[in-house]
């Protein structure tokens, strides 16, 4: 066996591994619960501070949480209208996964957050935008729930993508999370 060749092969493989992984965090945001969304954005904004590039992929219940309450989607069919009516309209309308108690629990949590000077979800999203956090929104979830591109929030770096785009980013990331 040629030791020299084996060594150079190994070196090449190491280099490939090193090049393949970037200082990046990829997150699937699946949940549309206020608590999980808060956690997602605290981690995302913290990761930028730690010098990482951050990509968030919004799918399923997290998708309607990115709607803008002042905007309207045009040309929806019956199911689209139903979904549009039943799903929370944006970051200020999402509720806690536990202790919501018909909105009372969520209201109390928001009151406490304000009192304790913790950023609201809206503020965290705005900060993420300033910090350059990339948002990918699952096109299939949009289609399934009848959501329209024009009714989503104004965000500096928001794209509508499929799963392959997320997997490409996740594959070259140091950390991958599913929330």
């Amino acid at each position: 066996m040629d030791i020299q060749k084996a060594l150079s092969d190994l070196q090449a493989q190491m280099q490939e591994l090193r090049d393949g992984t970037q200082n990046k965090l990829s997150m699937v945001v699946f949940s549309g619960d206020l608590d999980r969304l808060l956690a997602s954005f605290v981690i995302a904004n913290g990761a930028v501070a730690m010098g990482m590039e951050v990509v968030m992929f919004f799918t399923f219940w997290a998708t309607p949480a990115l709607r803008d309450k002042k905007k309207k989607g045009k040309g929806k069919d019956f199911f689209g209208k139903m979904f549009g009516f039943m799903l929370p309209k944006g970051p200020s309308k999402v509720t806690l996964s536990k202790m919501n108690m018909g909105g009372m629990g969520t209201g109390m949590m928001k009151y406490l957050m304000k009192k304790k000077n913790i950023q609201s979800l809206d503020e965290m999203i705005a900060l993420a935008g300033e910090l350059g956090v990339k948002m990918y929104v699952c096109e299939m979830s949009m289609d399934l729930m009848g959501l329209k591109h024009e009714e989503m929030i104004d965000y500096p770096d928001l794209q509508f993508v499929g799963v392959a785009k997320f997997l490409e980013e996740a594959g070259s990331s140091k950390i991958q999370l599913f929330i």
Partner: protein
């Protein structure tokens, strides 16, 4: 000892909660020159774990920590 250190920038981060202290500090440090010192004053108890973790990851150094009641001053030297 704290008196001997030449401070270039001071930040008042009192009252801010996680992750804002590290976010603000990392943004400020980006604007500074290598070798300059930033003093960040915070009341976030988590900062005692977070600032060293941030410094280690970002390759900067915490050269001193001064506790004053609920607040702590972190002296951060930009190394790169």
């Amino acid at each position: 000892m704290a008196d001997d250190i030449k401070v270039d920038v001071t930040m008042d981060l009192k009252g801010l909660k996680c992750p804002l202290p590290v976010v603000k500090v990392s943004q400020q440090v980006k604007k500074m020159q290598v070798g300059q010192v930033l003093v960040a004053e915070t009341t976030d108890p988590g900062a005692h774990a977070d600032f060293p973790a941030w410094a280690k990851t970002s390759g900067n150094e915490i050269i001193n920590i001064v506790k004053e009641g609920d607040a702590s001053k972190f002296f951060i030297k930009k190394l790169k």
